[in-house]
Amino acid sequence: MQEKAEIRSKYWLAVFLVAAYTIPFGVGIYTDNVFFDLQWLADLTTVILNGIMQGGVYAMFAVGLTLIFGVMRIINVAHGELVMLGAYLTWMFFFYVGVDPLLALFITLPIAFCIGLLIQKLLLNAVVGGPELTPLLITFGLGLTIIHIVEAIFTTDYRTIPYAPDAFQLTETIAVSRSKIISFVMAAFISISVFVFLKLHRLGKAIRATAQNADVAMVCGINIFHIYMITSGLAAALAVAGGALVSIQFGFNPETGVLYTLQAFAIIVLGGRGHYIGALIGGVMLAVIESLISFMIPNGTAMVEIASYGMMVFVLLIRPRGLMGPKEN
């Protein structure tokens, strides 16, 4: 019986994803935005490539969120604010000190790690394992606090970082923006490093052990609060790295973090809560849908957020496990 429900939910998830990918085409055809000529196909390829590149960055900061959830069962709604904070940190180093945005990672990531540690130690350690609402409200408050502090310092103006704006010509007609490629490569590098760390390093194994069963980890010599702090530090570093990489592609203001939180949630719901690889796949899938929407639907750029909302709501309804998440107990 359960087996059947499991198969059915998988089937419906597939149907939903196919629909999600075809609807933009449908709307595009209906509104005469789709032309079946070579130029259009080249544009489409460009758009999909850009989406995949973008997805790498989404995936990276979503992994941070999924890590926290996996290890502590905490839903951190301030994650996007850390992404935004990462963008501002990068911007500060770029404008005031003149540090290259990517080199700035060497400074911003350690800072981010410490911020994560502190958040965990001061705000979250006391409420792990308690009622789920408490950490949710704490991170909600934290997010708002970060927004207001950044607003007070930098105002609500949009900021941008001019960086590698020229495009890389793949063929004569297909070009991908260079900053996107750089971002993707960096994101892939960081995500893989963290993955390898979790898989192979002793501390990484201790983190996975705590995620799988904190009660066991506790009586097997693991200081779980220490693990929680490292996890939060890592998650914050991933978020800030994400912020650095989006800051060289898009403008940002103190409010943009909200959208990143939303995207990260959509991604981990799709990928399966707490699942690392799931988050990576989910990130790329979401970003590609977003690019298709903005490419084919008139005024689509204003509608990309719908992709995240829709994804989150429908996947939760159809198959709460997402693509690769563990079975609900």
Binding site: R202, K205, C220
Partner: protein, 241 residues
């Protein structure tokens, strides 16, 4: 028989869950280098006592002296590092890790990886799980999980081993195996073992001393054969309550 040295001195230990007095002023001394039993009807506070001894739960009051040090208030990992290890009533292993990874997970960060691996290999051999070293924890039978949990509890060579119902859900052959291992630990390595168990055969045939809990209070202690005849104990188990 000379009075044995004391491994664990539990003094007036208390833990309430709201109105439930799970452990209510429990006092007893676990002799060193022996296998002791902790018994009592369902809900009498045995598992809670283990949780207090290992720091999983914080005691409301009372003291636990281990090697002369009061370990109440220490974190679970600190207690573990002092040489107290345990298993759970319902096995808790890492289901998404292999048998070997499960073993390594319980090794101290302070010892070199190579040493930890060697020890894991030895212990897997000891509980006959070597063939399953690459199998995921979730794929083991319940009995095998019990063995794994037991072996994992020995990774750091603890001096005191707390076993919460090791016999439950384990078939005869495995159980005999397990008991043999436990005796080996006690006789050859001088370990102290405290077993919570409902299976009276295990308690009667393998424990030197037995403590009986009822409503979170120790109501009797002594040799297994004396405990069997103790009126309070019979009352606790069978009497009208």
């Amino acid at each position: 028989m000379a009075e044995a040295e004391i491994a664990l001195d539990i003094q007036n230990l208390k833990k309430y869950f709201g109105g439930i007095k799970a452990v209510d002023g429990c006092t007893f001394q676990v002799p060193k280098g022996q296998i002791s039993g902790l018994i009592g009807p369902n809900g009498s506070g045995k598992t809670t006592t283990f949780n207090l001894l290992t720091g999983v739960l914080e005691a409301d009051s009372g003291d636990v002296f281990y090697n002369g040090e009061n370990i109440v208030g220490l974190r679970p990992y600190e207690i573990f590092n002092r040489g107290i290890s345990r298993t759970f009533q319902i096995t808790r292993i890492y289901r998404e890790m292999t048998v070997f990874e499960n073993m390594l997970s319980a090794s101290s960060m302070k010892i070199p990886v190579r040493e930890a691996r060697e020890r894991a290999e030895q212990l897997m051999e000891f509980v006959t799980l070597t063939k399953l070293r690459g199998e995921y924890g979730g794929n083991l039978s319940y009995g095998q999980q019990k063995l794994l949990e037991f072996a994992r509890a020995l990774m750091t060579d603890p001096d005191l081993i707390l076993l919460d119902e090791p016999a439950a859900g384990v078939n005869r052959t495995l159980l005999n195996n397990l008991l043999e291992h436990i005796h080996h630990l006690q006789e050859d390595q001088g370990k102290t073992v405290l077993i919570v168990e409902h299976d009276m055969n295990v308690i009667m045939n393998h424990c030197e001393k037995v403590f009986v809990l009822d409503y979170g209070v120790k109501i009797a202690e002594g040799l297994p054969e004396d405990i069997q005849k103790n009126e309070d104990v019979i009352e606790a188990y069978f009497g009208h309550r």
